[in-house]
Chain length 394, copies 2
């Protein structure tokens, strides 16, 4: 996969031994000029300090840099956590001669432990010296916690004769739920985009990507997706009524969807990517309830891990989902193999079991009770999920 990079951005990483030494755990993205910024933040009532800081920053929709650390979430750290987050922004602002309010801050990792500010401070010079020597892929690596691979993608399109590029990186793994969770996403583009248009395109993109991912149903204190548009491509700013808006929004959504798929595929301990599609629901809310109940069911997830087309567990999950369900209208298929028709088994279980050995599993559920459809991305559940999470802090 070849990557294209938007113009006017520089990247850096450093090893600050935030949780443990020997890996990049500090990342920096800097735009050469001030950019329009939009963001989507966690809906968890407990918000990490950097989330609270970024919420304020987003009001102006202006920014030029983001500093991010892994290994420590700076969450449940009280007043001193807020001071630490502000200080991280200040370090960067001072060295780059920016207003601190133009520097965003993100943290991911363990909750409840103060950031090792001395080690972060000591690594700011090397972070600055690295600018231009590292790529977005390095940043993607620096933000990994239990992720097993870095997640980075790009997209291109042309607007007013200008080549526009978008790129993004993300981290996910465990604690991912619909409405985002311990996921960070940084999307950058060289397009000039007016702030309302950027917010609208991002909101649409996130709804169809990061917000349809669920790994374990837990929603974190730190989720953040930030999108920078610095205008280095030289186009006239895209507005919601521009001819280029649809292209831009589609590119942003495609980018986000690819990252979200990588997050689901890389769920903690996951061996398979699972897409759960519910069709024929009487409302959009019902479709979501049904799809999430199936995608979050431990029994469904372990059955898929075990190559067991145990559709009874899918039906049971639909039954308690809260979505209206007429059992004699229900059809379910796995990787295109019908396993339930009108609420009864079709006898195709052996064939379906075999198809579950694939690394991608598509579960299609038709309620035949309306016209609403939704897809949720998730993964299977293996013993490794338990191992990873029983040992995370130790």
């Amino acid at each position: 996969m070849s990557l294209s990079m938007p113009k006017g951005y520089r990247f850096s990483v450093a090893q600050a031994a935030i949780k443990k030494p020997g890996r990049y755990d500090l990342g920096l993205i800097v735009s050469e000029q001030e950019a329009t910024v939009a963001g989507m933040l966690t809906k968890n009532r407990v918000k990490a300090a950097p989330v609270v800081l970024d919420m304020k920053r987003l009001r102006s929709a202006r920014g030029q840099a983001v500093i991010v650390n892994s290994g420590n979430a700076n969450a449940c750290t009280g007043e001193s956590g807020m001071r630490d987050a502000a200080e991280m922004a200040k370090f960067v602002a001072l060295d780059l001669n920016l207003k601190p309010s133009r520097v965003f801050v993100c943290s991911t990792g363990v909750i409840g432990t103060p950031l090792p500010m001395d080690r972060i401070r000591n690594n700011i010079p090397s972070l600055m010296q690295g600018l231009g020597k590292f790529s977005l892929t390095h940043v993607a690596k620096a933000i990994m916690t239990t992720d097993t691979f870095p997640k980075i993608v790009s997209r291109k399109f042309t607007f007013q004769g200008k080549k526009i590029t978008l790129a993004g990186c993300a981290k996910g793994a465990g604690m991912i739920a619909p409405d985002m969770a311990t996921m960070l996403g940084f999307l950058i583009t060289d397009a000039a985009v007016e702030k309302t248009a950027l917010r609208s395109a991002l909101s649409e993109a996130v709804a169809q990507s990061f917000n349809i991912v669920t790994v374990d149903g837990d929603m974190s204190t730190n989720d953040t997706v930030l999108c920078f548009a610095n205008g280095a491509a030289g186009n006239r700013p895209i507005t919601t009524s521009s001819s280029g808006y649809r292209d831009f929004a589609n590119a942003l959504q495609g980018l986000s969807y690819d990252l979200a798929t990588m997050i689901a595929r890389d769920g903690e301990g996951a061996t398979k990517l699972v897409r759960v599609t519910v069709m024929g629901a009487p409302s959009s809310a019902a479709a979501k309830k049904a799809a999430r109940a199936v995608a979050n069911s431990l029994l469904v997830k372990t059955a898929i891990y075990g190559n067991d087309s145990n559709w009874g567990r899918i039906v049971a999950a639909l039954g308690y989902s809260g979505a209206p369900l007429k059992i004699d209208r229900l059809n379910v298929s796995m990787n295109g193999i019908a396993v339930v028709r009108r609420g009864l088994g079709t006898g195709n279980d052996a064939k379906a079991n075999n198809s579950l050995k694939k690394k991608e599993v598509n579960i299609s559920i038709h309620l035949n009770s309306g016209k609403n459809e939704v897809t949720v991305l998730t993964c299977d559940l293996s013993e490794d999920y338990v191992k990873i999470n029983a040992e995370y802090r130790t």
Copy 2:
């Protein structure tokens, strides 16, 4: 633990090789005289055939026998499943000279596979011959699926000079959620109890026992708790205004709570019983939301399994629970050791880690925002949960 048995009941079991041979998988409880019966059934919209049958039976509040099988849930089996459930009742009714409407039917096991009716039919004679030779403990064994031990308890009290005995058995293990799930409970007493009083006492008991258990958040198609009161103790029927009602209700609740605790302790792959208590909630609904979010969080459950007092995961779960939360009022303790005070870590994590090695873990959460309290019973999550459920049908 010594068990007392209510008068006027006989028990039997048989090996019908419903899922596999070599174990008791058919059970029968018969009262010598017709009893008042109350029941609580699954709220899952997908109800197994025997659940639909028992719902009808419960209207009369009269019954004399219950036949139960493990290994097959007779769920998602359509019209023929309904016929099979009715036939099971008929077999018993014929041999015992009862009306079929007085015979309840319960099934637990795999969903979507027709019952092997020939093997059930062939084993009815041996089930009848066994009556009086087996005990409630045998029935408790016959209803086990992934349970690792039979669950049986009893209680006694005196009313109007008559000794009243209650006994009960249950099965649980995986797929247990608040509001019951793949759990069967059979409660029997020799008290005479008027039907409204029996319903009221059972409803109260279940709310404070089986409905506060959660193992994996899944709710099944087959949950059933039935309570038989046959009057063999010779008391005047207990009504809601009887002096004995409170004693009876308390005994029934104690019995149910003990069974529920056994179910939580025996959650699939569980190594620890976990009690999550939320205090100081602004409403009962908020207390429940908060406690269930913590008890259902895979991250919390795996941390407890790993002896890791990772209270950040508890705080994060409270944050997404939907319950109102003022972080600076939040206190959390684990086995009496304060780990969070006013939303911040206390530094007692090492001590708390050590206390998590116990087989019982009590998590106390004080929201300091009201007067409502609730306790939920659950268990930790180990690799064995995944193993059991990845291999359940194979």
